[in-house]
């Protein structure tokens, strides 16, 4: 009988806190993203509206320049509608960015059977999804609420304290609308990425769900003479809730609460799909 004596020692050093380990995935995935020149270029384009809007806000308060251009002071009305329009533009870019980035997050791991590598470490399925989700959350935040708040701060600094206090709800609307949109889009992209292993197909599917859903909803509305077709259109649902948060007039007969509940259900459905697919082993019966 062989007698074995343990003569080596395992790693006994410090560990990073459990809660922070999912960020390793985010770091690696984010680093890989900007290796694509196309994506880097598109990300820069996504920031153009911010630069243009910042310039407009600045010019709007610059009497000298306005006089040179023969405009009166405060030619642009910088209010809730102004910020809402800006955010809608950015949400449009966010859809495209999600379609480019989202499918590459999970499908390669599934395609390479690499999920087991994560789960044979002290690393849970929730942490895996959180790590991948954070990639999109960070990326979409950089083009939505972060620049949105910077614009709000610029306008506040130029218009004064009283403007900021009376329009504080705009800042809240920028953050809430953006986070809601980011959560729904990110979960949708991850869920589709988990179910479709082929990256280009997953990307097309993200755009398909977003835009074909809108077309289908419009068709339902036209045929059935109803507004409930908008429930199939994620962009419209987001727009309805965003309008309400910016205290703008309703877009459709569908109430913001109905739209919000529909978005919650979509997010819940995506989480369910992820929970079905993100497993160490796929059991084929």
């Amino acid at each position: 009988m062989a007698v074995y004596k343990r003569s080596y020692k395992g790693y006994a050093g410090a560990y990073t806190p459990e809660w922070s380990r999912f960020r390793v995935l985010t770091r690696y995935a984010s680093r890989g993203l900007f290796k694509s020149k196309f994506l880097t270029g598109f990300f820069v384009i996504c920031l153009f509206p911010f630069l243009v809007t910042a310039l407009l806000i600045y010019l709007n308060h610059n009497g000298t320049v306005l006089a040179m251009l023969k405009f009166g002071k405060n030619v642009i009305n910088i209010d809730n509608a102004f910020f809402s329009r800006y955010l809608q533009t950015q949400i449009g870019f966010a859809f495209l960015l999600t379609a480019f980035v989202g499918p590459g997050l999970i499908s390669p791991d599934l395609g390479n059977n690499a999920l087991v590598l994560y789960f044979c470490r002290p690393f849970s399925r929730t942490e895996y999804v959180a790590g991948k989700l954070l990639v999109l959350v960070k990326l979409l935040s950089y083009i939505t609420w972060v620049p949105g708040l910077i614009l709000f701060a610029i306008e506040s600094s130029l218009s004064g304290w009283s403007w900021m206090i009376s329009n504080l709800y705009i800042a809240v609307a920028i953050v809430l609308s953006s986070l809601m949109m980011i959560a729904v889009l990110s979960l949708l992209a991850l869920a589709l990425s988990a179910w479709v292993k082929w990256k280009p197909v997953a990307g097309a599917l993200v755009l398909g769900v977003l835009f074909l859903g809108t077309g289908f909803g419009a068709a339902v509305n036209g045929i059935m003479r109803t507004s409930e077709g908008f429930l199939f259109s994620i962009p419209t649902l987001i727009e309805i809730v965003t309008h309400a948060l910016f205290r703008q007039a309703p877009l459709t007969d569908l109430s913001p609460l109905q739209a919000f509940v529909a978005l919650l259900l979509i997010a819940g459905g995506c989480l369910y799909l992820l929970s079905r697919k993100i497993k160490a082993y796929e059991v084929v019966r």
């Binding site: 062989a2 080596y8 790693y11 380990r21 390479n112 059977n113 590598l117 470490r121 002290p122």
Partner: protein
């Protein structure tokens, strides 16, 4: 359950819906090299996934060195796993592959860097460490997978088909590494189809068929318990006919066959211990016996007797 230094399965079953994975498995695995042997679909990978906590048992209890597999924070400090699939995230170099999973593991940069290089050195891949895994040969891929499994210094190493695709030299090196790890006190659990290698490296085997454990323990112990299959013993001697005539008088000798070269005989006996005692007497009576060796005391024979030659093909 007292499995402080062992991997213990207690009446464990796993069903995938109606499909049986493993059923009523009760085994204790001590340190050393343990091989899981069985045909495809016999439950080897299921057993490995159960002990690594990647699958939850439908019934029964499992402990790995006293740790329940549903406690990943403790379990994976002690356990390293190497899958049978080529599980490589796209675009990583060998070093990045080992390093990045050490970071997921919770190691800080400096420690992860040290441990990664140490593991890569141990599997002899230092020169190729900065190359992309996509350009690795099958053998190099197996070795880098092994490096990520041993990099954090686990006590239990679970390796699913680790010898697959390795050329003879790489296989010999890998087997030598397993032996070193086992000699260091590690539990090395291997599943393999390459029976003669399993035989050469294993301290104990677990034979599986259709989700059931049909034999477990040290190979020689398992073989001696198989009374329905008489043990085959090859005797090399100068007077095989004389030996045959003497041994045929004993009821525990089932068959004796003179070797084709006329310099030995193959005996089948129901009681090997009595047979060896008798052989001593024969030797003392002047028969020159060169060697005595069991002919079917190996994993290959166990596999054939217990699982069947059809499935072993």
């Amino acid at each position: 359950m007292n499995g402080g230094n062992q991997i213990v399965f207690e009446n464990v079953s796993k069903f995938y819906g109606d499909v049986l994975g493993v059923n009523r498995v009760s085994v204790s695995i001590p340190s050393g090299i343990t091989s899981l042997v069985g045909p495809n679909g016999s439950g080897k990978t299921t057993l490995m996934n159960l002990m690594t906590g990647l699958l939850q048992p439908t019934r029964g209890r499992i402990e790995v060195l006293g740790i329940a597999p549903n406690d990943p924070e403790r379990l994976f400090r002690e356990l390293g796993y190497c899958t049978q699939f080529d599980s490589f995230p796209k675009g990583l170099t060998g070093y990045e592959f080992v390093y990045s999973y050490l970071r997921v593991y919770g190691c800080l940069h400096k420690e992860a860097d040290d441990l990664a290089w140490r593991a890569i050195e141990r599997v002899n891949l230092v020169d190729a460490a900065k190359r992309k895994i996509a350009g690795y040969s099958k053998g190099m891929r197996q070795r880098i997978k092994l490096a990520q499994a041993i990099c954090h210094g686990p006590t239990v190493l679970v390796l699913d088909e680790p010898l697959n695709g390795l050329d003879p030299l790489a296989r010999a090196e890998t087997i030598a590494l397993f032996r070193t790890l086992a000699a260091d006190g590690m539990h090395v659990i291997i599943s393999s189809h390459i029976l003669h290698e399993v035989d050469a490296i294993s301290d104990q085997v677990i034979l599986l068929s259709n989700g059931y454990v049909i034999a477990e323990g040290k190979i020689h112990g398992v073989r001696s318990e198989m009374q329905e299959h008489p043990m085959q013993i090859l005797i090399r001697c100068n007077k095989p006919s004389e030996v045959a005539s003497q041994i045929f008088q004993k009821d525990y000798v089932v068959e004796a066959q003179i070797h084709r070269d006329g310099r030995g005989l193959l005996v089948r006996t129901k009681d090997a211990d009595k047979f060896y005692l008798m052989l001593n007497q024969i030797a003392m009576n002047g028969v020159g016996i060169e060697s005595v060796a069991p002919a079917d005391d190996d994993v290959n024979s166990l596999y054939e007797y217990l699982i069947g030659p059809e499935e072993s093909k």
